[in-house]
Structures are given as structure tokens and as C-alpha cells.
């Protein structure tokens, strides 16, 4: 090993340099440094994957199933994904031609962007947004167009799209049920968005990773609306509903040519999604409906607790009906300072809304993917802090 000092010859490419570092990172570091922190800042389930799914993964490893799968994922898995999409969301996709299994939805979004965005293409993104969307678009040489949604309880509306100038955009990328706000889009909410997309010839990238986590309302996929299937790619995966974040498994469903283009990028850059995770996913879809239902009912209990505590504390918040987030307003102008003080003085970690784009300013994201006892303790601390 040499101890000689040297200057790296690498210079970061412009498209990477242009993306600012994630604001979440800073809060993660602060939270890691502090002692005795209750974190409401976690964007993943606090449950482990259903036991049956874990056992299927163990079994696959024991049998030595450690090779690649076909590029698009194991046929049996694609068949089950198609069956599940038909049964739960009224979506009909051909497992042989219209579904691709990916390394998390993150990869699927990256594939979709690289396969369908040309340099300079505009992609409308409702804001506040999941932190990865704008960079994913930029890495594909596209241009994100922020569509602020704060005025309508964080639902996307036709008015918001028009105000942001999305009629000139090439595509729309959104996540509903939403991270970070917990907002959902019902069928009647989606209809004007679908009409807008048809009128202005927008492609729609619909990230529906939280589709199974809705409370009191059924999830509707925009691809089920008239004239939308041909212009929509639906993204979903196993991370949230089946608590399999670390197994990294997602999928995309869309028109044959769109999935073929994504597969072209996928086969050269990823080859195939993790084999062990695919085995777990087959089992999850086959036998774990009950576990998902149980998790959903537990999230709902926590959601109701969190909403009622926010109301008691006078923190204004709309009734979030999806995912596992609430997005209350904070009583000061500076949500980032509020979140930092709450962390250092009260030991509760939340994520300041500005991290998710300008439209999130003045709010914080609180996740209720945390046990009820911890939520109770966290809100007692927040109460004392206020």
C-alpha cells in the first residue's frame, strides 16, 4: 500500500454535479449523533417481511438457486404480478410482454426515464416530491418541472398542472398514495389529470408503491381510466406492502414497446433483479395477503392516533389516507429549524418538508411506521417541546 498523496484524476460529470446532495442525509447524520432519539423519520415499514416470504428466500438459498433469472424476472413471478394487478387494481397486463421485474421501483423509474426521455424533455413532478424523482429525470438528461400541490391538500389538480405550465411537458411522474404527504388520489381526483394527459399528450409514470396502504378508500390506478393504458407505466413493488425494502424488488407494467425499451436498458445495466428476492416475492404474492391486511390495520390504528394527537396539539394537518406519513404544518416559519430543535431538544426526529421541494416548506413529514408505544412517547415529547 502506498502512502503517497495524490490528486484524483476524476471529475464528476456535469449531470451528477448539478444535483444537490439529499437534504435527508443531513438529518440522518444529526439523528445518528443524538442519543435517545425516537425517529418518525423512517421511510420504510417497521415490520419484517412476512415469515413465509423469508422462508421461501432461505429455501431458495439452501437449494442453491443463486444464478441469474431471465432479464424480465422469473416467469412465475410475472404471472403472479399480473394476477395480483388484475385482482386488486383491475389492471390487465400480459406477463410475457408487459411486465418487467426490477431491483426496486427505483431501478424501474430509472429505466423508464432513460428509455423514454430525450435530452431537454420536461417531466412534470408534483411537489412535495419523493426525493429521487428530480435526480432520476436529470440523470436521464430530462428537466423536472415542479408542480406545487400544497393548496389542495397535496392532491394533484388540473389547475396546479396548468399553473405550472405542464401543458408543454412531455411526461408526468407522480407517487400516490404519496410520500411524503400521505395524500391519495381517488378515481374522481384522477379523471381531470387523465384528461389533461390525453389532451396534452403526456406520458404518465405512476409510482403506486403504496397502493396497498390506503385507509378507508380503495386505490385506483390511473391506467384503468379511458385512454390511459397506452400512455401509462405503472410502478409497484414489494418494499412497502410486504415490508421487503432491503430485498430490493419492484416491477413496472406498461405497453409492450415501453417495457421492451426498458428491458433493453435493464439487460445491459442490471441483467436481472435479485434471484433470492424474486423467490420471496412469489411466496409473498401467493400466501401473504393476510399479513398485509394485518399490517394495514395496524398502520391505520397508528394513523388515527397520530392525527388525533396532532389535532390536540394544534398542529394543522389534513387527513392523510395513504402510505404511512402525515405532513403537518409547523407553528413557525422555518420548518428546518423546527425539526432541528425538535431533534436536539426533544429527541424526536422528523423530516423538514423543504427536503421534498419548495412546496413542502412550512411542514414536516412524520412517519407512523413505528410502534404505537413509541408514537405515544414521541407525541408526549412533542407536546412538552411545544
Amino acid at each position: 500500500m502506498t502512502t503517497e498523496q495524490f490528486t484524483s484524476a476524476f471529475e464528476t460529470a456535469d449531470r451528477v454535479e448539478s444535483v444537490p446532495p439529499s437534504g435527508i442525509r443531513r438529518f440522518f447524520e444529526l439523528a445518528e449523533e443524538a442519543d435517545d432519539v425516537i425517529s418518525l423519520g423512517v421511510g420504510e415499514p417497521d415490520f419484517a417481511a412476512p415469515w413465509a416470504a423469508r422462508e421461501a428466500a432461505i429455501d431458495a438459498l439452501e437449494r442453491g438457486r443463486t444464478s441469474y433469472t431471465t432479464n424480465r424476472g422469473r416467469k412465475e413471478l410475472r404471472q403472479r404480478i399480473a394476477e395480483n394487478a388484475a385482482r386488486r387494481y383491475d389492471l390487465a397486463y400480459d406477463p410475457d410482454a408487459e411486465i418487467i421485474v426490477t431491483t426496486g421501483v427505483s431501478e424501474a423509474l430509472d429505466l423508464a426515464a432513460r428509455a423514454h426521455i430525450n435530452p431537454g424533455d420536461q417531466v412534470a413532478v408534483p411537489e412535495p416530491t419523493y426525493v429521487s424523482y428530480p435526480p432520476t429525470i436529470v440523470f436521464a438528461d430530462g428537466e423536472p418541472l415542479a408542480v406545487p400541490t400544497a393548496q389542495d391538500e397535496f392532491k394533484l389538480t388540473r389547475e396546479a398542472l396548468e399553473a405550472a405550465g405542464a401543458q408543454d411537458a412531455d411526461a408526468l411522474l407522480y407517487c400516490y398514495p404519496n410520500n411524503p404527504t400521505g395524500a391519495i388520489m381517488t378515481e374522481s381526483d384522477l379523471e381531470p389529470i387523465a384528461a389533461f394527459a390525453r389532451e396534452h399528450d403526456l406520458l404518465v409514470f405512476a409510482d403506486e408503491i403504496y397502493a396497498d396502504l390506503t385507509y378507508g378508500e380503495e386505490h385506483t390506478s390511473i391506467a384503468t381510466l379511458p385512454g390511459m393504458r397506452e400512455r401509462t407505466i405503472v410502478f409497484n413493488g414489494f418494499s412497502k406492502a410486504y415490508a421487503m425494502t432491503g430485498l430490493r424488488l419492484g416491477y413496472a407494467m406498461g405497453p409492450e414497446d415501453a417495457i421492451a425499451a426498458m428491458n433493453k436498458v435493464h439487460q445491459y445495466t442490471m441483467l436481472s433483479a435479485p434471484t433470492t428476492a424474486q423467490e420471496a416475492a412469489i411466496e409473498a404474492l401467493e400466501t401473504c395477503d393476510d399479513t398485509v391486511e394485518e399490517m394495514v390495520s395496524r398502520y391505520d390504528r397508528r394513523r388515527q392516533f397520530v392525527l388525533s394527537r396532532l389535532e390536540e396539539l394544534g398542529l394543522s394537518c389534513f387527513e392523510a389516507k395513504g402510505a404511512f406519513y402525515v405532513f403537518p404544518e409547523v407553528p413557525t416559519d422555518d420548518a428546518e429549524a423546527f425539526a432541528e430543535d425538535l431533534l436536539t431538544e426533544a429527541g424526536v426526529a422528523v423530516v423538514p418538508g423543504g427536503v421534498f421541494g419548495e412546496a413542502g416548506e412550512g411542514h414536516v413529514r412524520m412517519s407512523y411506521a413505528t410502534g404505537l408505544d413509541e408514537l405515544k412517547a414521541a407525541f408526549d415529547r412533542i407536546e412538552a417541546f411545544l
Partner: protein
């Protein structure tokens, strides 16, 4: 969950109680988490029957003891499976040797002290709930 109103559920529960289907309600306790000590033994009992004495007679006699928390007739190598509890191992041992073994029909006792409980009546006793997720994530 049941999609029924409170009064309906209360009435249904009352009916089950009246019919003797619901016999009682008890807390599921993880004694490791409590200050009080609790020792549990699962005891295998073999008994000898005669014309005047059947299993139910013996069971009735044994079930009288407050230390006996459950008593079941089982198939297999022994006759009764008895669960006994006390506040110390000495107390439970004394109970078995002084009260149970001397019962004339009891021919043999095999006592298993419970060393750890992982799951009881459907509830898992979690041993380690360390949250290994990143404390803040997107």
C-alpha cells in the same frame, strides 16, 4: 374489523358467556418483564385407575389446588399434563412432593420447569426489538 356496532358485539359476547363458551379472560404475562417472580412447571402424571375411581375423579381432586393452573388428560406415555405455578422453585417442588405425589392414584410424576417462554396463546414474547433501520430515510 367486524363491521358490527358496539351493542351488537357486546350482546354476542354476553351470549357466549351465558352459554359457558367463554369461560373467562386473562392477561398474557411475560414474567421476565415483571418484578414478581413466577415459576412454572409442566408436570407429567401417571395414575392408576380402579373400579371406583376414574380420570374425572382424580382430575377433580387435583384441580382443587390453587397451584394447578391447568390440567389436561392427554394421549401418549402419561395420563395427565398438569401445569403448576408458584413464586419459587422450592414452592412448586414442595407442592408436587407434598400434595400431588401422595395422592394414592398418582403412580409417577415427571416435573419440567419452564426455563423460557417464547410464545403463549398466540402472542410472541419478543426477546430483542432492536430497530436496525436507518434512523432517517427517504
Amino acid at each position: 374489523m367486524l363491521d358490527a356496532d358496539e351493542a351488537e358485539v357486546a350482546a354476542a359476547i354476553e351470549d357466549l358467556e351465558d352459554a359457558g363458551i367463554i369461560q373467562g379472560y386473562q392477561a398474557i404475562v411475560d414474567w421476565r418483564a415483571a418484578e414478581d417472580q413466577r415459576v412454572r412447571a409442566e408436570v407429567e402424571l401417571n395414575v392408576a385407575l380402579d373400579r371406583e375411581t376414574n380420570y374425572a375423579d382424580i382430575a377433580e381432586r387435583l384441580a382443587q389446588f390453587p397451584e394447578v393452573v391447568s390440567l389436561q388428560l392427554v394421549s401418549g406415555d402419561f395420563d395427565f399434563l398438569m401445569r403448576a405455578e408458584g413464586s419459587s422453585m422450592q414452592e412448586v417442588s414442595q407442592f408436587i412432593s407434598d400434595k400431588v405425589a401422595p395422592v394414592p392414584e398418582v403412580t409417577q410424576t415427571v416435573t419440567h420447569y419452564v426455563m423460557n417462554t417464547y410464545k403463549e396463546r398466540g402472542e410472541s414474547f419478543e426477546t430483542d426489538t432492536d430497530d436496525d433501520r436507518l434512523s432517517v430515510s427517504p
